[in-house]
């Protein structure tokens, strides 16, 4: 918005200050962190020599993180609740903007936001008083900062609601403003309650008249009257007149005719001035002072202003007694006049951020207000939610058009930033997704980029993230997470888990690789890894042919162990014929056939035996030949298939054994089969 001011930050790093060095930084993925360090420029012809400062200065890396209030759990619940309100608002906001019927709903939403903040503030205050927090300086400070920030936010939001979110246009605002100041300066009310309780003795109290003056300036006429009525001298004329004056002051109610109200008020005001001029209250100087304030006498107000805490504290009160029919646009002028008066009385006054923002709101300087609201230290919570509300209500549309501000883009940008900020914050990513969902394609693309970056601390969390990805149709993210977890399990030697995740990812290469590993491991050691996972593969085996093979081979392995040789043999034959046998596994598969071939009681029939022989000659032998050829050409040829089986030293031995076994089995089988036929 104001383009010329760029924030400057400094880091003292002696190495970076050295001649020839400078400072560099990079973003840390997964958070709003930067890593800074000293940097020495490198070119293609930079010589390789230690730099002059080697060993002299400590080499440091600085991790810089934007401070956030949200490490505090209470505030996180605030974020979660306001997230829900935000979602409600989005649903409500569908349809044309600026729909007058919905204004009441929008005001309700605004109030909901505020009540959530107030609730949170109460909890924070309460927590701050607890002994554990009192002991811990850092946390106490954090609480204090949070309370300060959100108190200011609620105050400003309330004022914004009064001035810019009205049911009817040009509604009178003085009563609401009075309510606003009363809420934010409760001390006077507390003092007043004390006075009321003290009844008659109250007038002895030192702070009696000061409290009454403050009450008047805050426009609390009823309480003032109540306290005055307990004064000892109440029956005197001065007091009676005062009471009458206060009682008869016209107060605007909804539905009154404006003209009538104004003339009544004028009449009352003139009457009061006359009474003052006639020294009706001369007997009680303090009371007279009070009446002067009620009549809006500038001189007296200036004197009393010195007691106020901030410039806007008594402005609504002043308006009550001088311009009770003040409208929002009139407030602007009144506010700037008032500030001039106030700063005139206090030449050394410096505006705090909160005062400045109140001023901007009252003077209708929304652009600056929004700019300032981004400096509040709440990670743009306030600015984002407020702009979203403004966008939906459509009230300030003409203002933004005039100022050449593209409100929809601004809102989009703020929600996008806020959503991505949440997504990259520890544990807040689920809230962030809701905000990014409002950002259409860019939001979805951002979710797609950010979801996989959430560190996978547990399987439960991984499942949650996968569910989120599934909801939005982000297949790539799902697959990516499964692959990462599979690889992680594999590196940790948890092969069953690795296989599970690989199957979930449906990635053929990965599944094949893990299945290969399991099969190779079996052929090397005879140990079948993760049998329980393999049994439960089921229909998922079709992801990869290798997995089908593994699954079927495992079936055979189980059948064999249970000594169900006939079914095992059948399965084995099928496997041999299936064409999905990996090259390196042929020896093992054939060796498995050996005991079945050698058994007295033939398990394998003649046709199958011939098939086995065929496989032997057609598959294994050529493979062995090819290996030999390759090794002859290039000694360290790595693409040769490694044959090994835990049952034999040298694979070539089995060739003859197999041929012999096949022949013997063939003979046995043929005899039995042909004999049966002959009979």
């Amino acid at each position: 918005m104001t383009e010329d001011t760029v924030s400057h930050f400094e880091i003292g790093d002696t190495l970076a200050m050295r001649c020839g060095n400078t400072l560099t930084a990079s973003f840390v993925p997964g958070g709003s962190k930067l890593a800074l360090s000293a940097y020495r420029p490198v070119k293609w012809n930079t010589p390789d020599a230690p730099s002059e400062s080697a060993g002299e200065e400590p080499v440091l890396i600085y991790m810089a993180q934007e401070t956030t209030l949200y490490t505090e759990p209470l505030l996180r619940s605030l974020l979660a609740e306001t997230n829900a309100t935000f979602a409600t608002l989005q649903v409500l906001g569908q349809g044309p903007k600026g729909d007058a019927k919905k204004t009441a709903e929008y005001i309700k939403i605004s109030r909901t936001y505020r009540s959530i903040i107030r609730c949170c503030l109460e909890k924070l205050e309460h927590a701050k008083q607890s002994p554990e927090i009192q002991e811990n300086e850092a946390i106490k400070q954090r609480h204090a900062d949070a309370i300060l920030t959100f108190y200011a936010i609620e105050c400003l939001w309330h004022l914004f609601e009064i001035l810019y979110m009205q049911q009817q246009h040009n509604q009178l605002i003085v009563t609401q403003l009075l309510e606003w100041t009363r809420f934010h300066y409760p001390n006077t009310e507390d003092a007043a309650t004390d006075l009321l309780l003290m009844a008659e003795e109250a007038s002895e109290c030192e702070s009696y008249w000061d409290t009454l003056k403050a009450l008047i300036m805050l426009g609390q006429l009823d309480v003032t009257r109540a306290i005055l009525s307990q004064h000892r001298k109440f029956n005197q004329t001065a007091f009676q007149t005062a009471d009458l004056v206060l009682k008869s002051m016209p107060v605007y109610q909804d539905g009154y005719a404006m003209q009538k109200f104004c003339s009544q008020w004028e009449y009352w005001h003139v009457d009061l001035e006359r009474k003052l001029a006639a020294h009706v209250f001369a007997t009680e100087p303090e009371l007279e002072l009070l009446m002067q304030l009620v009549s809006g006498s500038n001189e007296h107000w200036d004197a009393a202003l010195m007691k106020s805490h901030d410039w806007y504290e008594f402005l609504p009160g002043y308006l009550l007694f001088t311009r009770p029919a003040c409208k929002p646009f009139e407030l602007r002028i009144a506010a700037s006049n008032w500030i001039n008066r106030w700063s005139g009385l206090r030449p050394n006054w410096e505006m705090t951020q909160l005062s400045r923002m109140v001023m901007q709101l009252m003077e209708h300087d929304i652009k600056l207000f929004i700019y300032e609201s981004q400096k509040l230290g709440d990670s743009h919570w306030f600015a984002t939610h407020l702009i979203d509300l403004i966008y939906h209500t459509g009230h300030l549309k003409s203002y933004f058009d005039q100022q050449h501000i593209d409100l929809p883009s601004l809102r989009f940008s703020m929600i996008f930033d806020y959503g991505s900020y949440l997504m990259t914050s520890h544990n807040l990513w689920q809230l962030g997704i809701d905000y990014l969902d409002c950002c259409k394609q860019e939001g979805l693309a951002a979710i797609e980029l950010l979801l996989p970056r959430i560190p996978l601390k547990s399987e439960r969390q991984a499942f949650k993230i996968i569910a989120m990805a599934k909801e939005r149709g982000l297949v790539n993210v799902e697959q990516s997470i499964c692959k990462v977890l599979s690889k992680r399990a594999y590196s940790d030697q948890r092969y069953g888990n690795a296989l599970e995740w690989a199957m979930r990812s449906k990635d053929v290469l990965l599944v094949t690789a893990i299945a290969d590993f399991i099969l190779k491991h079996y052929s090397n050691t005879g140990v079948m890894l993760c049998p329980d996972v393999i049994t439960s593969i089921g229909a998922r085996m079709f992801v990869s042919p290798r997995l089908v093979f593994l699954s079927k081979y495992f079936e055979f392995y189980e059948l064999y162990r249970q000594r169900d040789f006939l079914s095992g043999a059948e399965l084995l034959i099928n496997l041999l014929a299936s064409k999905i046998t990996p090259d390196y596994f042929w020896p093992s598969l054939l060796i498995d056939a050996l005991p079945l071939l050698e058994s007295e009681d033939p398990k394998i029939f003649s046709k199958e035996t011939i098939a086995i022989l065929q496989h032997l000659e057609m598959e294994l032998v050529p493979l062995i030949e090819r290996n030999k050829l390759n090794t002859a050409k290039f000694n360290n040829q790595s693409s040769k298939t490694v044959f090994s089986d835990y049952r034999v030293e040298n694979v070539e031995e089995i060739l003859d054994l197999m041929r012999l076994a096949c022949a013997r089995n063939l003979s046995r089988a043929m005899i039995i089969e042909n004999t049966a036929l002959a009979m």
């Binding site: 924030s7 790093d13 200050m17 400078t22 990079s26 420029p41 390789d48 080499v59 890396i61």
Partner: protein, 356 residues
């Protein structure tokens, strides 16, 4: 406001590259002292060295992390004309304290094809497979591929692309939104006045890289290039560190003959008023960091009107480790450089930055 925590790096010389893994919880640093250090962040946010070893016989210029789908793998490149690939494995010993197996990094392969200093190394986006590109000072780009993702000792050269100018940096495009996969390389040659940023198209099917475009707008020596991650844009952004900071917007268009070509738009940012050495994007490409020769780091931000503006400047200033405006408690780090303690003092700087 920034909370700043310094970490004592224990390197004997200037760090040339600080690179984070995919999740931002592991960090690799490399230096002129020929060592690589791997750091891990624990749950409390403290960083500590988990591995440190002498990786090369010359200054190590850059480090790159592979996608975690391939495991814990990094690549380093060095002045000693080699690039290496390292993988973290589980050791056999069980440490008595944590009762978990030790982890250590082993060299999987050394790529010795280059005749000159290897200036940059970067893993390709994961959907291309396990691919690595290196850029050398003699201008040759080499692309290596590991055909077996379970066995990282095999990295045959897939392609060598020669360039007339020496190269100082390269960057892979990571988005899947455009059909042509792009690789950018920059040259810091100062003699010739030609374009210094080259764009190559990598075809997944043909597994070949072809030079398709030179960015002629940038003729000063280029020291760093970086493609922005693509979060839903219809065009690519390439940040270039040269005499000034440049951002090149690249669109794929089909011209009148129906052939695809690239349309380039170069934006220049001269706020640094000095050479820019490095550029770094954040995850959503909403912010860019540029390192200037003037000791300043500038953070750029795209505001809601889609214009890039400098939003913050970080300077290396001051005579000691103080942080504006509240100097924090005296530094514990001023002690010996040999200190093995890596623990931190907090400082804060500045006010919150309004981005819009």
């Amino acid at each position: 406001m920034f909370d700043v925590e310094p970490i004592i790096a224990d390197h004997k010389d200037v760090i040339h590259d600080v690179v984070f893994d995919y999740y931002g919880r592991r960090m690799a640093t490399c230096s002129s002292d020929q060592t690589v250090k791997i750091w891990d962040e624990d749950d409390q946010g403290k960083w500590s060295v988990t591995s440190s070893w002498k990786a090369h016989s010359g200054s190590i210029w850059r480090v790159s992390w592979a996608n975690p789908e391939f495991g814990q793998v990094i690549a380093t490149c060095s002045f000693d004309r080699t690039a290496s690939v390292w993988e973290e494995v589980m050791g056999e010993k069980v440490t008595t304290i944590t009762n978990s197996p030790t982890r250590r990094w082993v060299r999987r392969t050394t790529l010795v094809d280059s005749r000159t200093s290897v200036t940059d190394v970067e893993f390709a986006p994961k959907y291309l497979g396990l691919l690595l590109a290196t850029a050398s000072a003699d201008g040759i780009i080499r692309i290596y591929e590991a055909p077996d993702i379970m066995n990282l000792s095999q990295w045959p050269v897939q392609q060598e692309i020669a360039n007339k100018l020496s190269l100082s940096c390269l960057s892979w495009n990571t988005s899947t939104y455009m059909v042509t996969q792009l690789l950018a390389a920059g040259s810091d040659e100062s003699a010739t006045p030609t374009g210094k940023v080259f764009l190559y198209a990598y075809s997944e099917n043909a597994r070949k890289c072809v030079k398709i475009e030179t960015v002629n707008d940038i003729t000063d020596p280029v020291t760093d290039v970086a493609f922005a991650p693509n979060a839903g844009r219809t065009f690519h952004m390439l940040a270039v560190a040269s005499k000034d900071l440049y951002i090149v917007n690249i669109r794929g268009v089909t011209d009148s003959t129906g052939a695809g070509k690239l349309e380039l738009q170069t934006l220049k940012f001269s706020e640094h008023n000095c050479p820019v050495w490095r550029v770094c994007w954040n995850m959503l490409a909403t912010m860019l960091i540029s390192t200037g020769d003037d000791g300043c780091v500038r953070i750029w931000r795209m505001n809601y009107t889609r214009q890039w503006k400098c939003a913050a400047v970080l300077k290396a200033e001051g005579s000691g480790p103080t942080y504006e405006p509240n100097p924090a408690t005296p530094a514990a780090l001023a002690t010996t450089a040999a200190a093995t303690a890596k623990y931190y003092k907090k400082g804060t700087i500045g006010n919150q930055v309004p981005w819009h």
